[in-house]
């Protein structure tokens, strides 16, 4: 048996450091990628994974450190350079041009000259498809492909110029379980042919299931590693605990949860969504006869894989998207024709997942962002003229109450960390008597401590009578705080069922469409 120390690593990162204004994304990273091994890189969002990938793939230049390929020191100056050296990356968000065909996408960037080597490309595509054991039609338009197939094309593209290292960034986030299984098969095949595969994820179980070796990243630094031997010999619980300690630095309960209060049977219905449908551009409706009814103070969890209509449902409830059919009724009043502002006036709140996009206005101060949805309203504006004092006071109060870390309420909100931005958004939506709140992935990218705080606050609000729709991709969170849960699959919502232990299996089946919704 060959010892790990005798194999030349395919890629070695030594002392890699990269800083951006205000944050050190990677600090003195040492990483070794061995051939024939799946290396899981585990870390929360914001731990520095994207930057590390950027450095390996040639998109980003490190400030300090050394990169060695097959033992030789190299300098990767561009994505093209990385690809030519055999380092291929499949990013979390598709980097294919949706309007071009598969073959054209694969030809992109390879040859910037006049002639397109279409025959040669077809041959190479065939070669790689065989390697992966998948079927790909070169003339189909990428935009029409399913996500799993698109990912396969991405993998082919990543390995196009040379098969040395394959980096997969959160590859299962958009896949169905069947798609994920297929991916695992492909990865195993590649590894058996001697490639080094790097598998980046924030999901602990995935990292342990799929990796031969696990490295844990936290706040830009490597905080620990689990070797193949340890994975083989120690029990799963042991390893999980160790990894959790690495991430959080203290013993944290692997199973945490705030139990939801019972909703009285006699409480009346306060919010109803009836047969809401929204047509889409394609053949399938974006929302298909979605219906549910909630009592005051109830929390309904909406589970499902990203992209099955959850965001559109949130937008429909908030008023940012029009319904083609159906009704939304709040305390007996139909609101589906009301504008966003009118719904806000009636107590409808929407905590968006798009923090940097629609949730905040970056260059404006934290204080202004706090009153963003109240422009023109008293006491912040009187006869249309702004009253900075009132705004500042309000903002300071919210900052204190919600423990937002910011030097001052007048700094631009873009200088805040993602977690603090989310706190501001949350504070804003929950202030001034909400009646119905729609949350879309409110804990995305937050560390465990902040996540727990946010979940607790959501549960608290519900206890004081706020009806809640909680959209999330994390089943553990849903199970922790929701009264009932329904699953979105291809625009359809399953019948809500009460949350109870062990419900995850049932939900998983619904999420993948193996049971009809």
């Amino acid at each position: 048996m060959v010892l790990a120390s005798e194999i030349t690593p395919t890629v070695e990162l030594i002392g890699i450091t990269k800083a951006y204004p205000g944050v050190v994304a990677n600090s003195d990273i040492h990483l070794t990628l061995l051939p024939g091994e799946v290396h899981s890189l585990l870390g929360e969002n914001g731990a520095g994974k994207s930057t590390l990938i950027g450095i390996l793939s040639g998109m980003v230049q490190p400030d300090a450190g050394e990169i060695r390929i097959e033992g030789k020191t190299v300098h990767i100056h561009s994505p093209r350079d990385a690809l030519e050296r055999g380092i291929g990356t499949v990013y979390q968000h598709s980097l294919l041009v949706p309007t071009l065909t598969v073959l054209d996408n694969l030809l992109l960037g390879v040859d910037q000259g006049w002639k397109l080597g279409r025959e040669m490309a077809m041959a190479r595509l065939h070669e790689l498809a065989t390697l992966l054991d998948v079927e790909i039609d070169p003339s189909s338009i990428v935009g029409d492909l399913a996500l799993g197939q698109r990912q396969q094309v991405e993998i082919v593209r990543a390995l196009w110029r040379g098969e040395g290292v394959l980096i997969l960034d959160e590859p299962t986030s958009m896949l169905t379980p069947q798609g994920a299984e297929k991916l695992v098969q492909v990865v195993r095949r590649l590894v058996s042919k001697g490639l080094a595969v790097v598998f980046i994820t924030h999901k602990l179980n995935e990292a342990l299931d799929l990796g031969d070796r696990v490295t844990v990243l936290r706040r830009g630094k490597i905080v620990g590693e689990v070797t193949p031997d340890e994975l083989r010999n120690k029990s799963r619980i042991q390893v999980t605990d160790e990894v959790l300690k690495m991430i959080f630095g203290e013993k944290s309960d692997a199973s945490q949860g705030t139990s939801a209060t019972q909703i009285s049977d006699t409480a009346g219905e306060t919010f109803r969504v009836a047969h809401v449908s929204v047509k889409g551009d394609g053949p399938h409706p974006v929302l298909d006869e979605v219906s549910f009814a909630l009592k005051r103070g109830e929390i309904l969890g909406i589970a499902g894989i990203d992209g099955n209509g959850q965001k559109e449902l949130a937008e429909v409830l908030a008023g940012q998207r029009r319904v083609d059919n159906g009704e939304i009724i709040l305390e007996g009043l139909s609101i589906q024709h009301l504008s966003i502002a009118a719904r806000q006036a009636k107590g409808v709140r929407y905590v968006t997942d798009d923090r940097h996009g629609e949730g905040t206005v970056g260059p404006l101060s934290v204080a202004l962002n706090v009153v963003l949805k109240r422009v023109g309203e008293a006491p912040f504006w009187r006869w249309s003229f702004v009253r900075h004092g009132a705004i500042r006071e309000f903002a300071r109060k919210l900052i204190n109450d919600h423990d937002v870390r910011t030097p001052h309420e007048e700094v631009a909100i873009s200088t805040l960390s993602g977690g603090n931005m989310q706190k501001v958004i949350l504070a804003r939506e929950l202030a001034l008597e909400p009646r119905v709140v729609v949350y879309n992935k409110p804990t995305y990218g937050l560390d465990a401590r902040t996540t727990a705080i946010v979940l607790a606050r959501i549960a608290d609000q519900a206890r004081s009578g706020v009806t809640t729709v909680f959209i999330s991709t994390e089943l553990s969170e849903i199970v922790a705080i929701c009264h009932r849960v329904a699953v979105m699959y291809r625009g359809q919502l399953s019948e809500p069922i009460s949350v109870r232990p062990g419900i995850e299996l049932q939900l998983g089946a619904l999420m993948t469409g193996s049971t009809a919704v």
Binding site: Y91, V97, Q112, W114
Partner: protein
Amino acid sequence: MNGLFSELFISSLVSGGVIAGIPLIYAGLGEAISERAGVLNVGLEGMMLGGAYGGFVGALHFQSTWFGLMCGGLTGTVISLLMVVLCVRLNSNQIVVGIAITLGAEGVTALLHGAIYGDSYPRVPTAHPYAIPLLSEIPIIGPGFFNHHVSAYLAVAVVFFVSWVLKSTGIGLSIKAAGDQPHALEAAGGGVHRTRTIAVLSTGLLAGLGGAFIVLVGAGLFVPFVTNGKGFIAIVLAMLVRGRVKWIIVASVLFGMSLSLTTALQLAGVDVPIDLVLMLPFVLIIVVLFAFGRRSYLPAALALPYDREQR
């Protein structure tokens, strides 16, 4: 016999339409390339004007229409370098720079012409038309379409060439990717900046040719602001054809005809207020916008600067 639908009217309409339309084909094609790559080039008018003046000077100096056209193309390309440096490389606001280029070109060409040729108003050598055998003998419309200087036929040829490039070459793919998903191009190892540079320089070349055509084949001399808004019209036409480059030919000739409608009407002895007729093509564009604008296709990354290290 005069009047609408008379021979005189139709032949003058066609002939005038082609002369007015060819510069639009050149400039519109150029703009379409830029826009496809994700760059909105509002400075087109300035590049055309630069080409018009450069072509004028070149033709006078070399006493040749073709040398004039080449100089015009070169001038347009040089002006587009400004766009390349400021917008593609330095990520400046494309609209502000476009307006700057237009105003600056208007000023400098008018100034130079006035200072150097203001007294003499020289004319350029005549651009000799070449009548395509057989086709130019078609009754009534034959000469209008097929008896022009070769650069007119060249415009059509270039359109087909560019269409082929976009569909079947590496650079064409890169241009499309730069406009639809620049990150994809960069990740694939192509260069977004490099691609957009090529696109913008081509626009400058084509716009310069178009401007030179106006002076050398159309008017026969240069006057300040000789392009008279054609650059802006070309921008609109490029947006309207929605990326399907071959349609530029039809759109430009049709628009050219509507521009030359007044002359044709006058010749035909039809009495309509000129201003209303001159208004017509622009009103038509507004109507088209209402009718087709919604479903129009513009590249997703249009006018957004590209920053490789964007977090």
